[in-house]
């Protein structure tokens, strides 16, 4: 049980995919112009990550070592297709604002990386804990980045106006250039915090 809790906690901070490992950058930068988009992307990625970790951990003995990467990608692509159709049917506005980046979950290095590093070596309950931890770690980082960009770029968070009339929005923050700069500064701040903690 302790081991499971440890696997779960791992992704939250110590090996946080975005701030500590810096993987899965394309969706992180592209869809975090608002906090809502960040949350939606985080949840979609978490769903694919957890489901494929469960499946791959269950069938790991059946997969020949030589073709393991293509097999992982096939499992992941199947869950991504499912997520894409689900979002298009029930949340069309979210699906259209994330557009291209839903199918691109297939090549998110985070997901493939966890299959190779964790699910292919560990039993199913530990893989599940790892998937949930990594998923939450990915999601909170996306929501934080989305909130910062939305607050500075539009004066709101999750669509709620926070800053008053006096605030002149910095449009650059919701454009591509702002994504790079704000993520760079956030990773720098996280480095400072982790150094203080250690």
């Amino acid at each position: 049980m302790n081991q499971v809790i440890k696997d779960f906690k791992n992704g939250l901070w110590q090996e946080n995919p975005i701030f500590r490992l810096v993987i899965g950058m394309c969706p992180t930068l592209a869809v975090t112009n608002t906090a809502t988009n960040g949350l939606a992307m985080g949840l979609a990625t978490s769903f694919v990550l957890i489901s494929s970790e469960i499946v791959i951990s269950l069938i790991k003995k059946l997969i020949p070592t030589n073709v393991r990467i293509p097999s992982y990608i096939l499992v992941i692509a199947t869950f991504v297709t499912f997520t894409d159709y689900f979002l298009k049917a029930f949340f069309p506005s979210i699906a259209s604002s994330l557009s291209l980046f839903i199918p691109l979950i297939v090549v998110n290095c985070l997901i493939l990386g966890r299959q190779e590093a964790f699910a292919s070596k560990n039993p199913v309950h530990r893989s599940f804990a790892d998937g949930v931890g990594m998923g939450i770690g990915f999601t909170w980082a996306l929501v934080l980045l989305g909130s910062v960009r939305e607050l500075l770029g539009m004066g709101s968070i999750f669509g709620l106006q926070i800053l008053g009339e006096w605030y002149r929005p910095m449009i650059i923050m919701i454009l591509p250039a702002g994504a790079f700069i704000s993520l760079g500064i956030l990773v720098g701040i996280m480095n400072l915090i982790s150094r203080k903690v250690n």
Binding site: T78, V106, L175, V187, I189
Partner: protein, 196 residues
């Protein structure tokens, strides 16, 4: 003549205005990971350009003559990623036989091209944009040239940065991201250059 103008417009807009890395956020992983030296960055760019051009051609054919003809749109992601993975494998074997020197120079980067999201992104953008075969190939080639340009420029900046006095907490990834932000701002200057 009109056709030719259209092709040139697609090429210029993919390279400069809608640069895959700096304005579409595709291919960020190699952009951050393989941009420490100009030489390796440039060979990575060339290999990616090569695979992108071939991917554009082959996924267009598959999408038009198999997926759309047989009405199987739900197989798009699965079939595209398989095509890309096998294409990269094929290119790897081909280069290994025909030019061992180039093969050595590219090394580990070749197999990693499969998980470069710029390639799958390119394959998915072509049906969205409704390009014909020649336009797709030009689009793929332009995307590769744009990627090569961005990654080589970044490598040049990072080589110089080695001698700079960067605050400890910003060393490595954070400062690279901030530089990329400034580059993206510079590339915003190209928007409005032409309209497609």
């Amino acid at each position: 003549m009109e056709q030719l103008t259209q092709l040139i417009l697609i090429f210029v807009s993919t390279v400069l205005i809608n640069n895959f890395v700096l304005s579409r956020f595709l291919g960020i992983c190699p952009f951050l990971g393989v941009s420490k030296q100009v030489e390796t960055a440039f060979s990575m760019g060339l290999a990616t350009t090569f695979v992108m051009t071939l991917t554009a051609a082959s996924t267009w054919l598959i999408n038009t003559f198999i997926l759309e003809a047989l009405n199987l749109p739900f197989l798009q992601y699965v079939s595209f990623i398989i095509v890309i993975a096998s294409l990269v494998q094929f290119v790897e074997m081909f280069i290994k036989k025909s030019s061992p020197v180039l093969y050595k120079a590219l090394g580990i980067f070749l197999p990693l091209i499969t998980t470069n999201c710029a390639i799958l992104g390119l394959a998915l953008l072509i049906p969205l944009n409704g390009y014909n075969f020649i336009e797709s190939v030009i689009f793929g080639f332009g995307a590769g040239v744009g990627f090569t340009m961005a990654i080589s420029l970044m490598a040049g900046l990072r080589e110089t940065l080695e001698f700079g006095d960067v605050p400890d907490a910003l060393k490595g990834v954070p400062i690279t991201l901030i530089i990329a932000g400034i580059m993206a701002m510079a590339f915003m200057g190209f928007s409005g250059l032409i309209s497609v």
